[in-house]
Homo-oligomer: 340 residues x 4
């Protein structure tokens, strides 16, 4: 932490700040500059509340220096985390990109199988499908629950696809952890710390979506919650942030991909479906996500989007997904990555 | 819903859109204009997914017209909701403003009582204190849990203050509903729909904080979730939104107060502590909140903010709260409101 | 400036960063901490580009410490700037609040006089009216130009109101500086540095509106541009920022009022008309602005808003302005301020 | 325009709104729905101010339907605009991508030539370099002015590169239009309408950067200003928007590329340098921009970024640009585009 004094701060005020820091059990390092003095603080500062120092006489500003994340950081683990799926050679976080696709919600066995067949045919290795849907309206379709999980378990058996599905609360988590291969935590729950902790106690990989207004640090801290409980297999997912723009539902922030890769060893994938909310923008942004260096894509694909009970607007058709898959494979190659 | 056709759309394209709407079970109303045709849709449109129509040939745009909220709306109930507390003449939503104050977290019996004494002396009728704290870091102080709830129950007995405290998950909710007078749902959980539903099944008032990136409609829909389960006593709370600014932790959006009051019968209060994140801005913004017409204030007050285990930076001193209380009382009078 | 090294940075890397800083002509101060080393930099750092240091081996982050503003700052001038108008006892920035009101645009002599009469009657000391209008569409009404300035000069003579009007380019500035009492620089031109400099060479007060996406620092730096040319009479104006919200046209950020007052000696006023964009929200937010401590209000008032050629939607009626004036006067008194 | 009535609106209120619309000279179309009535308005609505209607009794909301842009729109001109440079086969907006590169500012003849040689060698066809710099601080380097323009004219002769440089005011515009091949209007001037009009009277292509908080509609309307004066050669440029994120200086909004291409015939390029503000993110985002379908890239390249007088932090090294160029060429091919 760094305390910046006002230019007109007196030596007594500077001394008083140093004394205060010492009383809190830390070490102050006054650093006189051309215009003003700054005071560095060393020692483990987990407990210092910068607001109180900011109110001391003569203080202009307090700047936090250390980052609060530990386990997610490359400081702790330099090499990339690679997540493996027992009994397969599928990975997330290595050279291969993870291609995850499927409908927003599982609406019926027929619909689930039709979508799964389409995405498997295109080459996807993971199937996504909602069993529990967090909907803005309490009157909208909320998912089929465990029935949907059972349908997806069948889909795994039939098509060899790994299953990714969202857990919206502690109860759903138990079932999702039982049936699925990857537990998804949705954007709206990114700071639902009870759910994060509970997911951290499971031994299945967790796909953590970035909250609509989450900073990079908050996003990494949410992953830290999961890891702090002992589950080190976390996959981050950029899915668009809320901004003033209105030509897309959210603004897909692709710059977070290299930013995460610089700070953290965890894999990061991109969701161009929620990231744009418009069918005609999914493929261009999917290509961009691969080009920026993402470790995979999660895409909503529906065999009959105009009849979808949710998110039909942003679901693409199977033939569009095949085209997307093909273009992304070619781009991945240029980056010396591979879509298996 | 309104479908806006492109200027160059052909009569056949317009007809095709009308046919499509009819097949979905609704009634199309073509509306030829100077430059382009628009098509109104009537019938209950809960299930129409505008995305599919948007992709039809000749369509420029689809505009949603009806609002999805029902129970929160003045369309259903014109007069203001007034929440009463049995055995007292305390209200929220009527002429009297609700003054809620107390520390971020309950840290000990001594600290809780010291804070409670201070806010009761200033005139507050409600005491806030965290038992379960949603913290960005898993390594930060997370609250005393049930022990804190017991301390607050004692505080109610001793000082006659109604207790407001946050429930962060289903488990905490059971205890909070038992011990407290008002169940708080925090900003990070505003779209934790499982928790909202569970709170809707309780028979205690719910204080619902606006999410950091929630639109007015999403905020009202979160209240709708609670009400749809039969709990009609919801108090909305503006606590700052996330914007690009950096001089405060959040941007307090006071304009939502008259906006809510126009659309909804529910009371809305303001939290200037989280809304600014800076002690020196709490009182000015508290005054502004009363002046804009808020139905109450929730303020963090700590008798020793520099020793607080959380949020010390934005907690004000008891004597500052007294000043705030005094100034706000005077402003309330000008608006023909009253701080009891 | 503070360079934060990575935890695993070697002594050689730390030394290399220190050497680099020294070569640039500054003094490095290594500051070893529990987990990592930070390096303070002293000397006049106007020219250091933090990006290059950030790319050196072992560097985690570079944090800028000193603020770039000088003349706007209380570091240079502690007491509040009070702007006076020769031949009157009108001030901006002192105990009296500046009440500025009038139509968005001057549309005709009749309309200008009708509006001026109304605001003068309510008690305003300043008249605002657009002669040059920056409109989003090139096809919308762009103002009457010099003709409007002449009408406003007559209004000053007739009603004793000081005139505030916007200059949108160098050419308009010459005329505005000649006819008006206060030169307004609009939000869209807040970073039009040529125009700021030109206004800085005039000897009339400048009302500088905050840009839609301007941080506090950028806002103060825009004022610094004007002052750097020798014009020290700058009035800042908050008029709403762009956020994700959609219930108002902009989000009025009232917290910037105390934030500016802490850092700068310049007066700051608030524009609740553009700040909300909705007639029914102007009065509540005007009250809030006075309650937060603003040094004045600029409000759009039109005697026939439904016939206004621009901004009718957010203009209030004369009788609404009288009510606003009355309520704000009472609130000002509580803060020991005065509306003359 | 569509007027949505409240559910409880009376037939008299509906009639009154229709009468009001008729008095304004337009045609109302009442559209009774299941829950509420909506009233469509037809006729040329340029002059209707929706605010006044919104205030009529019984009105819930007014929704604007028609878009205000004309000349920029594909409604007027369906095929893509292709900009040609006389005496060359260089184009912007066709199959070939425009590769524009060079330093933030021209600092000296030597520096300009060194940078130009580097980007020409990599394959760029356009050279960018600032002669007039809009800097946040009045005390920062502001560019060499006409001297820089002369250096760039020499660079064109020597390396065959077309010159792109920014005009910050009317005076600079005259010189830029004389010396350069493309007139750049910076993000901070996107709504400097006087400058846009003046650029519209020149007969050189204009590169228009998106403002930091500009919506798609405002961006297109700024282009409309230029075109309304008779200059149809406008190149749009996405360069990042302001959001709450802090891991990059701005958030590059790549989704605007397909959004513009759907609505407008104008070419759109991307600036990954300002769009991220960080050297290590320029290449990944440049690749993403080409993958999303942009018509070109404008990139800051400096032969000695650590000695640059401005923007060194986001300028890449010549060898990084070569790598970027190579990767982007390969991605362009996949999209059936070409980097010449």
């Amino acid at each position: 932490m760094l305390v910046v004094m006002k230019p007109q701060a007196t030596p007594e005020e500077i001394q008083a700040v140093c004394d205060h820091i010492q009383q809190l059990g830390f070490r102050p390092h006054p650093l006189p500059g051309a215009q003003r003095t700054a005071i560095g603080i060393t020692g483990n500062q987990g407990q210092i509340d910068q607001g109180n120092i900011e109110e001391l006489s003569g203080v202009a500003e307090v700047i936090r220096v250390s980052k609060p994340y530990k386990l997610v950081s490359r400081d702790i683990k330099e090499e990339d985390t690679i997540i493996r799926f027992p009994g397969t050679n599928i990975t997330i976080g290595g050279r291969d990109l993870a291609m995850i696709a499927g409908p927003c919600s599982i609406e019926s066995r027929e619909q689930g199988f039709a979508c799964a067949e389409a995405v498997a045919k295109a080459g996807a290795q993971f199937f996504r499908g909602g069993a529990y849907k967090p909907r803005t309206s309490p009157y909208a379709f909320q998912g089929l629950g465990e029935e949907a999980l059972k349908i997806m378990a069948e889909i795994r058996d039939r098509f060899g696809l790994r299953i990714v599905t969202e857990a919206i609360d502690a109860e759903a988590l138990e079932l999702v952890a039982e049936y699925a291969d990857v537990i998804q935590i949705g954007a709206r729950n990114m700071q639902n710390y009870s759910l994060l902790r509970a997911a951290g106690r499971k031994r299945k990989p967790v796909l953590l979506k970035r909250g609509l207004s989450a900073t990079l640090e908050e996003f990494l801290m949410a992953a830290e919650y999961i890891m702090s409980e002992g589950n080190y297999e976390v996959i981050l997912c950029e899915r668009g942030i809320r901004t003033f723009t209105d030509h897309t539902r959210n603004t897909l922030d692709l710059s977070i991909v290299p930013a995460v890769q610089r700070l953290s060893h965890l894999p990061i994938i991109v969701d161009p479906s929620h990231g744009t909310g418009k069918r005609n923008k999914v493929t261009p942004l999917a290509r961009a996500a691969v080009a920026v260096g993402a470790d995979g894509l999660i895409v909503e694909v529906h065999h009959q989007p105009d009849k979808a009970l949710s998110d039909g607007m942003q679901s693409i058709y199977p033939e569009q997904y095949e085209q997307l898959f093909h273009e992304c494979s070619q781009i991945a190659e240029i980056l010396h990555r591979n879509i298996p």
